[in-house]
């Protein structure tokens, strides 16, 4: 994947396919410690310990459920290239938490990329999903919650094209401000 935001979209799709109704995405950019951590938590079906152990192996896949494929192995490889690691915590019926850690300044680390497009796409494809997004850069943070958006648009589905385009541009704008841009 060219952007880490595409991995995030892919993980969100995994969660949805595992029956998640709630999804939390936290991006933590700790520049002082030179770490970038992406954590995605869902309330989907979860996996047993054996499945968690082999889920990063691209050659052991249970294709019938389409739950696993190349997505997690690709992300695992991306973290390992960048002095990081992928940590998966899950249990049947308890949801899944995937944390991908990277050395922030590592030359092989893909850029975060278009997070606005990723969030807009997740919401467009899953308008009923409850999504919470938190992005921290050192001390500052930006938050987006579909609950709050729904409170503002009322009965209009969040998948309405104009709302999706607004989400994409709003997130891009707010993240640029978070980075100190104008």
């Amino acid at each position: 994947m060219k952007e880490l935001s595409l991995h995030i979209l892919d993980l969100a799709q995994n969660s949805v396919e595992a029956g998640a109704r709630k999804l939390t995405i936290v991006i933590d950019e700790d520049l002082a410690a030179d770490r970038l951590t992406i954590t995605i938590t869902d309330d989907g079906a979860g996996m047993d310990a054996e499945t968690v152990r082999r889920v990063v192996d691209p050659f052991v896949t249970t294709r019938t459920t389409r739950r696993f494929g190349l997505g997690l192995p690709l992300l695992d490889a991306a973290t390992q290239r960048c002095a990081g690691r992928l940590v998966i915590q899950s249990a049947p019926g308890q949801g899944t938490k995937v944390a991908a850690e990277f050395q922030h300044s590592h030359i092989d680390r893909a850029p975060l990329g278009d997070l606005g497009a990723t969030l807009a796409t997740i919401i467009a494809a899953n308008p009923d999903l409850e999504l919470d997004y938190l992005h921290r850069i050192d001390g500052r943070s930006f938050q987006l919650s579909t609950r709050e958006l729904r409170a503002r648009v009322g009965e209009i589905p969040l998948s309405h094209p104009e709302i999706i385009l607004w989400i994409r541009e709003y997130v891009a704008q707010e993240l640029q401000q978070l980075r100190g841009g104008v």
Partner: protein, 120 residues
């Protein structure tokens, strides 16, 4: 500058349009968003489709996703179903082709045979 206040304007506009149309529906666009689709550009295709639908006031068109279809080498894949017509699946798309599919197939009613990989 975008602000949360914009959402109220979008809601009011959407409510007016829904009243005018009386809830007309029937056209569905399906985009494949497995790992293969995402890596090949499904996100950009979906965004282009939504931009074109918004620009042409086609907000009643339903846009949904699906997982990997097993045709990973032909991603990004998008299917268009217009009520009463065969379902057309397009492959090897990009944002520009997706915009054209919205204008030609959905708005003007002319499927683009050249880009279709299946019609049924």
């Amino acid at each position: 500058m975008k602000s949360l206040e914009d959402l109220r304007k979008i809601r009011d506009k959407a409510q007016r349009e829904t009243k005018l149309r009386g809830g007309q529906a029937g056209t569905r666009i399906t985009i494949a968003m497995g790992t293969c689709g995402i890596a090949a550009g499904a996100r950009e295709c979906l965004q282009a489709i939504l931009e074109e639908l918004a620009a042409r006031n086609q907000s009643e068109v339903l846009v949904v996703q699906t997982g990997c279809l097993g045709l990973c080498d032909q991603e990004p894949l998008v299917s268009v179903e217009v009520e009463g017509q065969p379902k057309v699946t397009y492959g090897r798309l990009d944002a520009a082709k997706c915009r054209k599919i919205v204008t030609e197939h959905i708005v003007n009613g002319h499927p683009i045979g050249e880009w279709a990989i299946s019609t049924r």
